[in-house]
């Protein structure tokens, strides 16, 4: 086999290794506390930035029309109820379905008091 194939073979091996690493998701967070196992923290973060940060601030740290959520000790039941039914000026059903589960997972995680 010619020397010219070396970059392609090694590049292919690196791509296969990357794929294996991606499938393993070795540092993926475990299910968040609070009974929201169906939610994905990182997708919830994106949904939160799109739909919620305007009122609750970046990372839920406040600064808008809504209250700060960061380190406030909310649980999944409270957050789910607020999202589904609305609260104060916050309308009901801003996000639904999987996006709701994801954003609940994110809010529960950021609202956990730091140790």
């Amino acid at each position: 086999m010619g020397r010219g194939w070396r970059p392609i073979l090694i590049g292919g091996a690196v791509a296969v290794a990357t794929f294996a690493l991606a499938r393993a998701e070795i540092f993926a967070p475990s299910a968040p506390a609070g009974g929201t196992a169906a939610g994905d923290f990182y997708n919830g973060e994106t949904v939160f930035q799109r739909e919620c940060a305007g009122c609750h601030g970046d990372g839920g740290k406040g600064g808008g029309a809504g209250p700060a959520l960061f380190e406030t000790g909310l649980d999944a039941t409270e957050v789910s109820a607020a999202v589904q039914q609305g609260r104060g000026v916050m309308p009901a059903g801003i996000v639904t379905g999987q996006e709701q589960a994801d954003v609940v997972a994110y809010v529960v995680a950021i609202s956990s008091p730091s140790e």
């Binding site: 970059p7 296969v16 990357t18 690493l21 991606a22 998701e25 993926a28 973060e45 930035q49």
Partner: protein, 156 residues
């Protein structure tokens, strides 16, 4: 427990500067894309194109090498988050394309680095590898950073 801590620590570190981990990735990738633009301009000058740029020679080659190295460094936190935390996903076309190109990105990068060092290869091999790598990064940027800036929010 230790593995979960890695994800949390990464998130805590990144959100000290950026509003979210995805915002951080969007800006790191944008920095890499800007530097890839520098790479393309300097490469074109090295190959005798774009004569309006300063003269060919060590300075252009130096800028080309260092813009590449710094661009590579900017991709590392993105790699860490995308590959080791989020993984390969295909929930929709955008994410599927992003995952596919992301999987091959470092493979093409490794191939390009080897092509640079192998002077026995045909003259077209290096620009082909370089342009392929640049194109892949642009596709990755369009399917992540540009999407984030235009559909989620534009900000840090």
């Amino acid at each position: 427990m230790l593995i979960a801590d890695v994800s949390e620590t990464y998130t805590d570190l990144v959100t000290m500067v950026f509003s979210s981990t995805i915002a951080a990735k969007a800006w790191f990738a944008t920095a890499a894309v800007v530097l890839v633009g520098v790479q393309l301009l300097t490469a074109a000058r090295i190959y005798g194109r774009l004569s309006f740029l300063p003269e060919r020679g060590p300075a252009i080659a130096h800028i080309h090498r260092w813009s590449g190295r710094i661009a590579f460094l900017f991709t590392l936190p993105v790699f860490f988050h995308c590959v080791t935390i989020l993984g390969f996903q295909t929930p929709d076309t955008r994410v599927a394309i992003h995952s596919l190109f992301g999987t091959f990105f470092y493979g093409v990068f490794a191939a390009k680095v080897l092509v640079v060092r192998d002077h026995s290869l045909p003259r077209w091999a290096l620009p082909t590898a370089g342009l392929t790598l640049a194109l892949m990064l642009v596709v990755l940027w369009v399917t992540s950073s540009l999407w984030y800036f235009t559909t989620v929010r534009f900000g840090f």
